[in-house]
């Protein structure tokens, strides 16, 4: 089926490293075209104790990818030798999976972000639907690359504290929410550090819509509501 297109999609996924870990964040929307179809979709999932995966793009493909990773983790568990997939290995694996699917002209319609912390080192990498991939100290998929990345380039330092990093992340989320039509004010943030993986409960950000035209959008359109 060479000509597929995505049905239910997630928007930007953001990731930054900091002094002792990485943060991933995104909203929880699964959009069916421009319909806000699923409002509590967890787009960041735990892979194992040192790694999380975040996804934008087709969410059913993301669930399929999670199943692949869960099978790999289960195999690791059954081998029972203490070995498990490292973040860089998860990233490399996903790069090959997505690249091989584009070679079959049947792509997995995702931009993925892998966040991890292993051997004292944070890991942050991304891969797109045709297999293009890179690692960096901060990254963002989709609109996030236009909206959040400039903020990150300005304010990010690899030696940030967790508090600073969280604050930067919330600012990036807010900007993405203000400007990205296909996003909602309900977010999740994941942290991977030496303590392991934590994925936050969904939360909202305080927004300010006092800009004049926001307050009374129909002011110049008599007869509208």
């Amino acid at each position: 089926m060479p000509c597929r297109y995505p049905y239910v999609t997630g928007t930007s996924m953001l990731g930054i490293t900091y002094k002792d870990g990485v943060l991933l964040a995104s909203d929880t929307l699964g959009a069916y075209g421009s319909t806000k179809r699923y409002k509590s979709f967890e787009r960041i999932r735990k892979v194992n104790d040192v790694c999380v995966l975040g996804a934008s793009g087709e969410l059913s493909d993301f669930q399929y990818i999670m199943r692949l990773l869960e099978e790999l983790s289960d195999d690791d568990f059954c081998m029972d030798d203490g070995h498990h997939l490292k973040p860089a290995e998860v990233h490399s694996y996903l790069c090959r999976v997505l690249y091989n699917r584009r070679n079959k002209f049947d792509p997995l319609w995702n931009s993925l972000v892998v966040g991890g912390f292993y051997a004292g080192q944070p890991f942050l990498g991304t891969v797109g639907m045709i297999g293009t991939n890179y690692t960096d100290v901060h990254l963002a998929t989709g609109f996030g690359n236009h909206l959040a990345r400039p903020l990150m380039r300005e304010k990010h330092r690899p030696d940030m504290s967790e508090e600073e990093a969280t604050e930067l992340m919330r600012e990036c989320l807010k900007v993405c929410y203000y400007r990205d039509k296909n996003s909602i004010n309900k977010f999740q943030m994941a942290k991977v550090s030496a303590e392991g993986v934590t994925i936050s409960e969904p939360f909202a950000l305080e927004t300010d819509w006092k800009y004049k035209l926001f307050e009374n959008p129909a002011a110049n359109a008599a007869g509208a509501w």
């Binding site: 199943r67 099978e71 289960d74 195999d75 568990f77 059954c78 029972d80």
Partner: protein, 248 residues
């Protein structure tokens, strides 16, 4: 055509006049001669223990495993031909994996036991194969709670509160019957299993004890009993046995 089987012992596709399939019986014997393997279901989980006879002084400790996880919520201990055991383990792993990918849920213990039973049974039907020389103790912890199953070379699979296979099975079963399993925690269980295996071990040569469990403490995941706990349990078991000997 003389001998113990009188010609009826060459193939699994022929019954003997008195209704036996000798190859199946012989496979069971392969199990009966192996190191003892014990399983008990306690109130909060299942404990499996294996008596591993030391085949060489030069053997690296822990390199001959007898207990294996086959999924997060299930694991087996095998008695009999070790290589056959590995084959059973990989079959159990793929059954568990397949069930999860099909139904999105972990495989229930009774389903896994039945599927292993059916798989093993097939090797009792055709002249060109031999039966598995393995009995498999299966420990699971799912929605039905903790459960223990035994799959034998003939393909029968039953659920037990406690059972034993291998050389010392008779003595071990007698001891298990004395235990109050419904009041026993897995912590106490590992000590009981260690004690039984030491009790039924009747050779000059020593043995390596392998303990695995699945319970609340292990997060309902099948795992080897943590080394420190296992060592403590074994020490306590030995001490209890010595105390009993003194009383005699």
């Amino acid at each position: 055509m003389s001998g113990i089987g009188s010609g009826y012992d060459n193939s699994v596709s022929t019954f003997s006049p008195d209704g036996r399939v000798f190859q199946t019986d012989y496979a069971q014997k392969a199990v009966d001669n192996s190191g003892t393997v014990v399983g008990i279901r306690c109130k909060d989980g299942v404990v499996l223990g294996a008596e591993k006879l030391i085949i060489s002084k030069m053997l690296v400790e822990n390199s001959n495993r007898r207990t294996f996880p086959v999924d997060r919520h299930a694991g087996v201990a095998t008695a009999g031909v070790a290589a056959d055991g590995r084959s059973i383990v990989s079959r159990a792993m793929s059954e568990a994996n397949q069930y999860k990918s099909f139904y999105g849920d972990p495989i229930p213990g009774h389903v896994l036991a039945e599927r292993l039973g059916s798989y093993v049974h097939v090797f009792n039907l055709y002249w060109y194969v031999r039966p598995y020389g393995v009995s498999t103790l299966l420990a699971t912890y799912g929605k039905e709670g903790p459960q223990l199953y035994l799959v034998e070379p003939s393909g029968t699979s039953h659920r037990y509160f406690g059972t034993a296979v291998g050389k010392g099975r008779q003595g071990a079963k007698n001891e298990i019957e004395k235990l109050k399993l419904e009041e026993m925690s897995c912590r106490e269980g590992i000590q009981a299993v260690a004690k039984i295996l030491h009790q039924v071990h009747d050779e000059e040569k020593g043995f390596e004890l392998e303990l695995a469990w699945i319970c609340e403490e292990s997060g309902r995941q099948f795992q080897r009993v943590p080394q420190q706990l296992a060592e403590e349990a074994e020490a306590a078991a030995k001490a209890a046995l010595e105390a009993e000997d003194m009383d005699d």
